[in-house]
């Protein structure tokens, strides 16, 4: 067992501290939203989780491209780690949105384009994990997964743009959208601080998790080669 790199230890503590600060900022520092009340505070983590989901899938697609071009197996590990994190954070994004929607839209779920495209994105990457299960040869698995992650990523921009090209009730807070959407609001300066700090924090959470997952991936690979050595 290789020891944890020093930089990773530092990153652990830094991310933990940032997370606590982000909690404080979004729960206490940011003012209570006038119309929606405290439930609006979910917004800070909801958007941040969605951002991590999209970022993770982008990293997976980029790792896929690198794997196909350079033929280096380590990019497969990056892609897998990134997709796993992305699936979890997209799930957090959907669930937290649902919690917000219950009091604001008066329903847990509505067939709004943004909600549907986000769910489809989640389904694509669940399928990605299923695809990996079905292929035993590691080389082939890496290639198939890479091609699929690139194809799948094409729907991510559609998800991001869905609230801008379709008629939808999902609010567009950043980059001024339709102010009549149910639940739209203008950010006050303090809210903006909490919002961008959450985005930063979640990006750090992503990086930390990715590093840990990569270490795990390498260790399990090492274990496999040791097993083979032992059996032969």
């Amino acid at each position: 067992m290789e020891p944890m790199p020093k930089a990773l230890k530092v990153l652990n503590w830094l991310t933990g501290a940032l997370f606590l600060a982000a909690l404080y900022l979004s729960l206490f520092f940011a003012p209570r939203e006038a119309v929606m009340g405290d439930v609006q505070r979910v917004f800070y983590f909801h958007v941040a989780a969605g951002w991590v989901g999209a970022l993770a899938f982008l990293v997976a697609a980029a790792a896929g491209v690198l794997l196909l071009i350079r033929r280096e197996h380590r990019w497969d590990g990056v892609a897998l780690a990134s997709v796993e994190i992305g699936v979890v954070f997209t799930f957090i994004n959907i669930v937290s949105g649902s919690i917000w929607a219950r009091p604001i839209w008066n329903t847990w779920w509505t067939w709004d384009p943004r909600l549907v495209t986000a769910t489809i994105m989640e389904l694509i990457y669940l399928a990605y994990l299923l695809l990996r299960e079905g292929v035993e040869d590691p080389d082939r698995r890496a290639r198939f997964a890479a091609v699929y992650s690139i194809l799948g990523f094409l729907t991510v921009p559609l998800t991001f743009l869905s609230i801008r090209i379709f008629r939808t009730i999902h609010p567009v807070v950043v980059g001024s959208g339709d102010p009549t959407a149910t639940g739209a609001f203008d950010m006050s300066p303090r809210m903006r601080v909490a919002f961008f700090f959450s985005l930063l924090t979640f990006t750090f959470v992503y990086a930390t998790l990715l590093w840990h997952r990569l270490r795990l991936y390498r260790l399990s690979e090492k274990l496999d080669t040791l097993k083979i050595k032992l059996l032969s």
Partner: protein, 243 residues
């Protein structure tokens, strides 16, 4: 395979395979091989057709179609039918190649891999259009709607193209996995949705007789995704079939 050896052999002569004409000839040879095999066995088309018909009939019971809802649901029923029957055909079309080592034979042939991809896309597209050509008049008669609107036919063609372009790539992928038959729809449907949704919306708009400005955005989205998917699948195919 035999067929391809007969009619496709001129294409593989050295020196000619790099020219556009040679490339097209390889594609034609692969399409011809698939058509000839299908004409002899008829196993794929009959399965797709019967399945498509069953889906249409089940929708009749599921939606209890009265005249109003029937008109609104037409585009949806059609595209669900095509998508479901399509996976059946795609699965079969690649499984046939895989089963007796035909795919290895094709890969060994001194032809461009992308020509192989486009050949399979063309033949899968032809099978899908054939199913649609049968379902269209049948649906028109059974549900008493006229589906033969020129715009709708164009949308059906574009939608089928996008569907088959991604589907052929993913079928070539899933056929090499352990859970081959169940995996294709799971991988394909979420990815191909950016093609299916605009195709469905545009079909619906044509059936409702809407004006062009209402249809154009959907047509544009459909064409854009057709182009992107075809380009990406064409680039990815090499990595899927290599050993």
């Amino acid at each position: 395979m035999n067929r391809s050896a007969e009619s496709g052999s001129p294409a593989v002569h050295a020196g000619e395979k790099s020219t556009v004409r040679g490339y097209l000839r390889v594609i034609r040879a692969i399409v011809w091989k698939d058509l000839a095999a299908e004409l002899r066995s008829r196993e794929m088309m009959s399965a797709m057709l019967v399945f498509a018909l069953l889906v249409v009939i089940i929708f009749n019971f599921a939606l209890e179609l009265d005249v109003r809802t029937r008109e609104n649901a037409t585009a949806g029923v059609l595209w669900v039918t095509f998508a479901f029957a399509g996976t059946l055909g795609l699965n079969r079309s690649i499984a046939i190649e895989k089963d007796r080592g035909c795919l290895d034979g094709l890969l060994l042939a001194p032809i461009d891999r992308s020509a192989l991809y486009f050949g399979k896309v063309m033949s899968n597209l032809l099978f899908m259009l054939a199913v649609e050509a049968v379902i269209f008049p049948l649906y028109s008669v059974l549900y008493n709607v006229n589906l033969f609107v020129p715009g709708l036919l164009l949308v059906v063609f574009l939608g089928s193209w996008g569907y088959v372009a991604v589907g052929t790539l993913l079928a070539a992928m899933t056929v090499q996995t352990r859970t081959r038959d169940v995996l294709l729809p799971i991988l394909l449907f979420p990815v191909v949705l950016p093609v299916l949704v605009p195709a469905l919306k545009a079909s619906d708009a044509y059936l409702q007789g809407l004006e062009m400005p209402a249809i154009m955005p959907w047509l544009n989205l459909l064409i854009v995704y057709d182009v992107i998917f075809t380009a990406l699948a064409f680039m990815g195919f090499d990595y899927i079939v290599e050993e």
